[in-house]
């Protein structure tokens, strides 16, 4: 579910590690005043406190060095940090002379806050609460002797424990805010990148279409015009040749006018090829179309094309005419394709239901969710209407098997 972190997120993580490291450094600084001013009398064992401090500094360098490399802290590293700080709180606190465990001479409190902050930022709220609890307990335990010896010490300890909790919560909130800003920045960047890519693709498609329109314009101006004339009988060519020209004209006309509907691959072009093939069988076909969707499912286009072919075959076989009309109309949510002729027609009552042509036409379209209507009377030609519509969203959700967008 988590996407690859973007540039902004990586930058934020790096910044958080640096900030936590800098915070830890600052939290360790005040003790240097003890060194500078020689307040060694604050400790029962000054040498051990100094060794612990140096050892702790080494740990801090190791911890943040690793954190910077890995852009964060694993649970193990955060737990180790909390454990080391808790030990320091207990040991250094008990090494302080009476009255000094709650003063700045006890250097462990500041870094311990840093450990709780690290836990909440990189291991979440649960880890932050546990860390703050452990560290508070360790702090209280380390300052036990002070609190029994000095009255005011208890108030100081309570105040520091509250501060530790407050800083932990504040750090957690800041981290959430920073990361969410970074995530949004990354999302916005990715979105604009996608938009640019889409724009480039659309631009390329426009360029291709323009080129096609230009080429088809040329085809229209010369090739189609010449073919139309030859097909109509100009130039005194043989009847066979004339018929051939007529067919090529029909095909080319379908192609050239299909360009206005933006794709040479859709239903219009497929119907253009069908009318061409039927033309070879000696049928003159008038092909018109308007606003046919380009994203019809391939199975639907195929079914419609086959149905049209069958209807045209029937014209050739039964209608006793050599002329037919194929019309494709885009509808709001689908398409209507009709095949009509002005031939002899037939009496529908004389055709047994469920037999022959009508049956296979209907079955073919029913498979893709379409319908076929056939109308004819003796002497009034035959009309076949093929309809297909996208299912409404409601109907689609209750339909399991469908060739939708396959």
């Amino acid at each position: 579910m988590n996407p690859e972190p973007g540039a902004a997120m990586r930058g934020t993580e790096r910044w958080l590690v640096s900030a936590a490291g800098l915070l830890r450094l600052v939290q360790m600084m005040p003790w240097l005043a003890v060194v500078a001013t020689g307040h060694w009398h604050s400790y029962r064992s000054p040498g051990l406190v100094a060794v612990l401090y140096v050892g702790y500094a080494c740990w801090a360098v190791l911890l943040f060095g690793t954190g910077r490399r890995r852009l964060g802290f694993s649970t193990q590293w955060a737990a180790a940090d909390v454990a080391i700080n808790a030990c320091c709180l207990v040991i250094v606190g008990s090494l302080c002379a009476p009255g000094y465990a709650t003063s700045f001479q006890n250097w462990t409190l500041g870094p311990a806050m840093g450990a709780a902050i690290l836990a909440v930022i990189w291991r979440g709220w649960g880890a932050g609460i546990v860390a703050a609890g452990i560290l508070s307990a360790a702090y209280v335990s380390g300052t036990q002797s002070d609190m029994t010896a000095v009255k005011a010490a208890t108030g100081t300890v309570i105040g520091n424990v509250v501060s530790l909790a407050a800083f932990t919560v504040a750090a957690g909130l800041v981290a959430i805010r920073l990361r969410s800003t970074a995530r949004q920045t990354d999302l916005a960047t990715a979105a604009s990148l996608r938009a640019q890519e889409a724009e480039a693709a659309a631009e390329a498609a426009r360029a291709r279409l323009e080129e096609r329109v230009r080429q088809y314009g040329l085809l229209h101006d010369n090739v189609l015009t010449t073919l139309t004339l030859l097909g109509a009988g100009a130039g005194g060519i043989s009847p066979d040749m004339r018929e051939r020209c007529q067919m090529d004209t029909t095909f080319l006309r379908a192609l050239v006018s299909a360009v206005n509907d933006a794709s040479p691959d859709g239903l219009n072009a497929a119907l253009g090829r069908v009318t061409y093939d039927q033309g070879l069988l000696g049928l003159q076909i008038h092909h018109s179309h308007d606003s046919v969707a380009q994203d019809l499912p391939a199975a639907v286009v195929e079914a419609i094309v086959q149905a049209v072919k069958e209807a045209l075959n029937n014209v050739v076989k039964h209608a006793r005419t050599r002329e037919a009309w194929v019309v494709a109309e885009g509808q709001q949510n689908g398409v209507v394709v009709s095949v009509a002729d002005h031939g002899c027609g037939f009496d529908p009552a004389a055709v047994k239901p469920g037999l022959g042509i009508t049956r296979s036409l209907r079955d073919r379209m029913a498979l893709v969710g379409g319908e076929v209507e056939i109308d004819s009377r003796v002497g009034e030609g035959t009309y076949v209407e093929i309809r297909w519509a996208r299912l409404s969203p409601l109907a689609r959700s209750t339909t399991t098997a469908c060739c939708w967008k396959c």
Binding site: G233, A234, S257, A324, A340
Partner: protein, 214 residues
């Protein structure tokens, strides 16, 4: 019949004009005399009251609707022809007062039939024209009654007029009336634009064509 129908043709394709002449030479009651490459050229011949076959998109980039208006002003009846039924322009010529529309792939028979029908004033619209009208989706298009719309839709899909009439439950005679009514509606809808074009044309004739103030 007996009466000779005189016909003119305007097309930038010389070969097509020659072919038309050959075709019409074989038809006793139709005489194709005047041919021209542009409407300007045709008007210079000084012909009036003829049936004119007009190419939809002429090479001189003249407006199809304007061409129709200029010809009908002289009493000519215009049959528009083209290779591809560019619906927008076909509708525009209908509103400009053209009698009908045919694609050029129809053979001589369809053309001769149409010319004779125009001469007697009873031209049935072609399937291409009906289809273009059914697909007219301009906001300001003439409003057809539901029955007219259904008839036109079936007819525009290539149905015979008899079958289309039966489908909507009227007689073929009534269906024909519907078609004429639809054509009238388009002529009516085109009247304001036509008046403007006619005015511009009159000014042009008067030599004031530089800036027709309308």
């Amino acid at each position: 019949m007996g009466k000779i129908i005189t016909v003119g043709a305007i097309d930038d394709d010389r070969m097509l004009l020659e072919m038309l002449k050959n075709w019409m030479a074989a038809v006793p009651d139709i005489q194709l005399i005047h041919t021209a490459a542009t409407v300007d050229e045709y008007l210079q011949l000084g012909v009036t009251n003829e049936i004119v076959l007009l190419d939809l998109n002429l090479k001189d980039d003249s407006s199809p609707a304007e061409n129709v208006v200029r010809l009908t002003r002289l009493g000519c009846k215009v049959l528009v022809v083209s290779i591809i039924a560019d619906q927008k322009y076909v509708i525009a010529t209908l509103e400009a007062g053209a009698e009908g529309y045919l694609t050029k792939n129809h053979g001589p028979d369809a053309l001769v039939t149409s010319i004779r029908q125009i001469a007697t004033g009873e031209l049935t619209p072609s399937q291409e024209l009906a289809f273009a009208v059914t697909r007219d989706n301009r906001p300001a298009r003439p409003q057809l009654s539901p029955q007219e719309g259904r008839l036109l839709s079936y007819y525009g899909r290539g149905m015979t007029l008899e079958a289309a009439a039966r489908k909507i439950g009227v007689s073929p005679r009534t269906a024909e009336d519907y078609l004429n009514r639809i054509k009238k509606k388009y002529e009516e809808a085109g009247r304001p634009a036509r008046t403007k074009l006619e005015l511009a044309e009159r000014l042009r004739e008067d030599g004031l064509e530089d800036e027709p103030r309308l």
